[in-house]
Each structure stands twice: as C-alpha cells, then as structure tokens.
C-alpha cells in the first residue's frame, strides 16, 4: 500500500499547489502567445491595475464586510440553538435538527429565485442587508452543527462553578463558556465566512446587479475577460480563505470532515 499512498499524497499536494502556481504565472504574464511554454515577458502591471481598480477595491470591501457580518450573525443566532441541541433532550429535537439541516440540501438556486421577488417587494433586493440575510440561509446550519457537536462534549458544571463562586451570568458567559468553546467557535465562524465568501448565485439573484462582490467580478471575467486579469482576480479572491485555513489548521485538525459542500 505504500506505493499507492505515495502516489495519492503527491497527487493531493499537486492539486493543492497547482492552481496557485497557475494563477501566479498567468497573472504576471504578458503577451504570452501559444506555443510558448512560459511567458517571454513578465509584468506586475496587470496585478497593479486590478488592485488599483475602484470596482475591485469596493468589491473586496463588500465581500469582507458581507462574509464577516454573515459569520458574526450566524454565530449569534446559531449559538443558543446549538446549545440546546447539544445539551438537552426534549420532544421535537429531531424535527428541529431536520429543519436546520434543510438549507444544506435545498439548492441556493431555488432559494435565490424564490426570494428574488419577495425581497424586491420588501425593498431588500439590491441591499447589503438583503444579500446578507440570504447568505445566512446556507451558512447557519454549518455553525449550528459545528457548535452543537462542541456542546455535546461540553461540561456545564464549569458554568455552575463560576456562578456559585459569585461570577455574574455575563462574566460566566465571557470567561467560561466562550473560553471553553473557543476552538469550535473559530471553526464555526470560518465555515460561515467561507460559505458567504464563495457565494455567487445568491448575491446575483438578491443583489439585483447592485451588490458586486469578488465572485461576481470573477465570474464575469471568466466568461470573457483576458486570462491575466482573470488570474489576478482569482489570486485576490483565493488569498483570504487560504490564509484563514492555514491560520486555523490546528482547530480544523481536531474536527476532520466538517467542511461540507457549498464552499
């Protein structure tokens, strides 16, 4: 099995490094004609132009604000739900699980198309708030399931201990609950961020062309832009998730198999 293991491992690392290398070569290439294997000339002008483009900068700002906001909101809404799902047994618990599981399988296509008219009528279409609300639908289940898993291994007695010793409920929450759950909170926040960050369809259908995030720009570049610009945009779009994954490697390692679809 060692041979197989080696091939598999190399294929995996190649898959990992290849897109980054590919984008870098294309992004810095200029006048790179067929059959030349590598660009004859290199330039940083493309990347500088893309980074200096007002539309890209505002898309980057909107993307960060949106993914950050969705992540935070999903945690605030998901925390209490995860807590009772992880710690309590009650009638209807399975039904609640099932309802919260639903958005992971209902296609964003159907959600976006269905909400399109409703949000237009409510004045939410084309607003950051409206798009964030739509992004919460696929993001929330991942936060709830990740945190519920953490609560299933959580010992409430630490909280009682702090309360008995005279800590206020708020102090107990900050210094005991959040502290103990920190690794899982990081992973949950990461999932929500990534789901919102990569979301194209919901932004398109709810944003009504007024909310332009990085995936929206990348999509239109891929449809007909020049390769160097497309690659530069892809690099900018890819950098934050990879940095976050690398930074949270330790927390992720404790929970293999958690990242699911829709990323």
């Amino acid at each position: 099995m060692t041979r197989l293991s080696q091939i598999g491992r190399w294929a995996l690392y190649l898959l990992l490094a290849a897109p980054l290398a590919l984008f870098a070569v294309y992004a810095f290439s200029t006048r790179w004609f067929f059959p030349q294997l590598l660009p004859a000339e290199w330039t940083s002008a493309t990347l500088a132009r893309v980074l200096g483009d007002g539309r890209v900068i505002s898309a980057l700002r909107d993307s960060v604000a949106m993914a950050g906001g969705v992540s935070l909101l999903a945690m605030v809404i998901g925390y209490p739900a995860a807590r009772v799902l992880g710690l309590r047994q009650f009638r209807g618990r399975n039904a609640a699980w099932l309802v919260l599981f639903l958005p992971t399988v209902v296609p964003p296509l159907a959600v976006g198309m269905g909400l399109n008219i409703l949000f237009l009528q409510l004045g939410l279409a084309g607003t950051l708030a409206g798009v964030m609300l739509a992004h919460l639908v696929p993001a929330l289940p991942y936060v709830v399931f990740t945190l519920a898993g953490a609560f299933a291994r959580y010992d409430e007695n630490y909280e009682f201990q702090a309360l008995v010793l005279g800590a206020s409920p708020a102090r107990t929450f900050w210094s005991v609950s959040l502290r103990l759950l920190a690794p899982s909170l990081v992973v949950a926040g990461l999932f929500a961020f990534l789901i919102s960050w990569s979301q194209y369809l919901l932004t398109l259908l709810i944003g009504s062309g007024r909310i332009i995030t990085l995936p929206v720009l990348l999509f239109s570049a891929a449809a007909g832009g020049n390769p160097a610009t497309t690659a530069a945009l892809a690099l900018i779009f890819l950098a934050p998730p990879l940095v976050i994954i690398a930074a949270t490697a330790r927390q992720l390692n404790q929970r293999p198999g958690d990242i699911r679809e829709q990323l």
């Binding site: 091939i7 598999g8 609300l133 995936p215 990348l218 690398a246 490697a249 390692n253 198999g257």
Partner: protein, 289 residues
Amino acid sequence: MRRRLSLSPWLSLAPALALVVVLVGASLAYGVAQSLGLMAVIGQNTVSLDAYRSLLSGHGPAGREFWSALGFSLWVSVTATIVSAALALLLAVGLASRPGGGAADTLALNWNLAVPHLVWAVALLLFLAQSGLLARLAAAGGLIELPAEFPVLVRDRYGLGLILHYVSKETPFLALIVLAMLRSQPTGYAQVAANLGANRWQRLRYVTLPFVMPGLLAGALLVFAFVFSAYEVPAVLGVGYPRMLSVLALRFFTDPDLRARADGMAVSLILTAIVLAVAAASLKRGGAK
C-alpha cells in the same frame, strides 16, 4: 440560575428556526406560486400547470431542452459522484496506511476544500483550454502544432470538463470523510485478517470497505445533490447545448419576457424535488449527523 437554564429549549431555537422556516419556506412558496403562473407583477392571477405540462411534454422554448438537460445533469452528476467516491476510497486508504503525518494530509484536504468552486473552475479553464498550459506542454512535446489540434476538454459538449472539475474537487471532500472513519477504526480487524492470510486487496474488500461504506454512501449522495443543483461551474465550464438543468432554470428565470419565469421556476422546483429525494435517501442510509 437553574430555572433560567431550563427554560423551554424552543426559545433558544426560535431565532435559528425562524430564519430557516421563513426564508426557505417563503422562497419555496413564492417559487411554487410563480411556477403556476401566479405573477402579480404582470397581472396574472390564474393558476395553471402550463409550465409543467410544456416541460414534461417537451414543447415550448424551455420544454424542448428539458429532457436533454435532465439527462445531461444526471450524466454529469452520477459520473462525477461515482468516480470521486472510488478515488476518495483509494486516496483515504493510501493516506491512512502511513502512520503519523496525518496532520499535514488533513490540512491539505481542508485546504483543497477552501478553494471556492468558481476559482477551481477558472483554474481548469486556464489549464485545459485549447491554448492553455496543457496544450502548450503538448506543443512543446511535439504532439500538436496548433491549438485547434488539442482535444476540447473544457467547454465541451460531453461534460468532460464538468466531470473533471467535480471529480478533482469532490475527491478530497469524500476522502476527508473516509479518512475520519478509518482513523476511528480499531486496527485489530485488519491485523486479524492479515494473520488469517488475507492479502491487502482482500483486507480492503472485506474489512475496510464494509466499515466505511455507510459514511461514503451518505457523503456520495450529498455530492450528487450538490453537483446536480450547482450553477457556477456549468455556467463557466459548460457549453450552450447541452446545458445542465440549473443553467436552463436561471436562463429562463432571467428572460426579459416575464412569462418565461414560470418555466424557469418549474425547472428549478423539479430540480429541487430530485435533490431533496436524494438527500432524504442519504439521511436514511447514513443516519442523521
């Protein structure tokens, strides 16, 4: 304090449940209404099954493409799911057989999953296009002289580019699931089998496979549901004909002629029904996680 903590769990669940029930419920309700032709915007207030009738009978602008789009969607999703499940099994078994080094492998798999589908599709486009890097490599090796001589691997009519995309993206995802199961497996069984004279393929077939099968199957069904309904990848790596159902749905939904919306919505709802049926099967087999 005890009293506060024992308050009805439904109070804590309310915000999350409300968000999902209201938004998903409203989107499905609005979707069904529009697919039935109810559109106050253009003054239509009568219910009709015209959209479904024309789709299923293969008539009308959307209907003419419906069955071929359904077939194409099934071809791409079923093939991609089966191939990535098989590769994931081999990859995970390979990775698990080496003691230690697990952290780097898990990180690599997670890293791969953090790459958004759209980015991956763009990478494949740059790599596999007829003037892409692979074509240049082929030219350097003297295999071709002109870009047109390179086989059409992306934006091809057989869905090869799509299948290639999903296989390379979903194999790590499924491998992560299998790997997690393998690492929780007691090593004793494989050793007993080895002692009894089982070779490594027999161990894979009779010890490992039955152990990981439920998880792999549940994961594979999720992959199928995702591939079947995803939009970005077929939009970037696909061609005008044949199209996947998701592309067809959005095409008619965004048609300037508002009457085409009902068709687009009906396609989307048929797609959703198929996905939900498959997900239900997945839940049943794998047990709710």
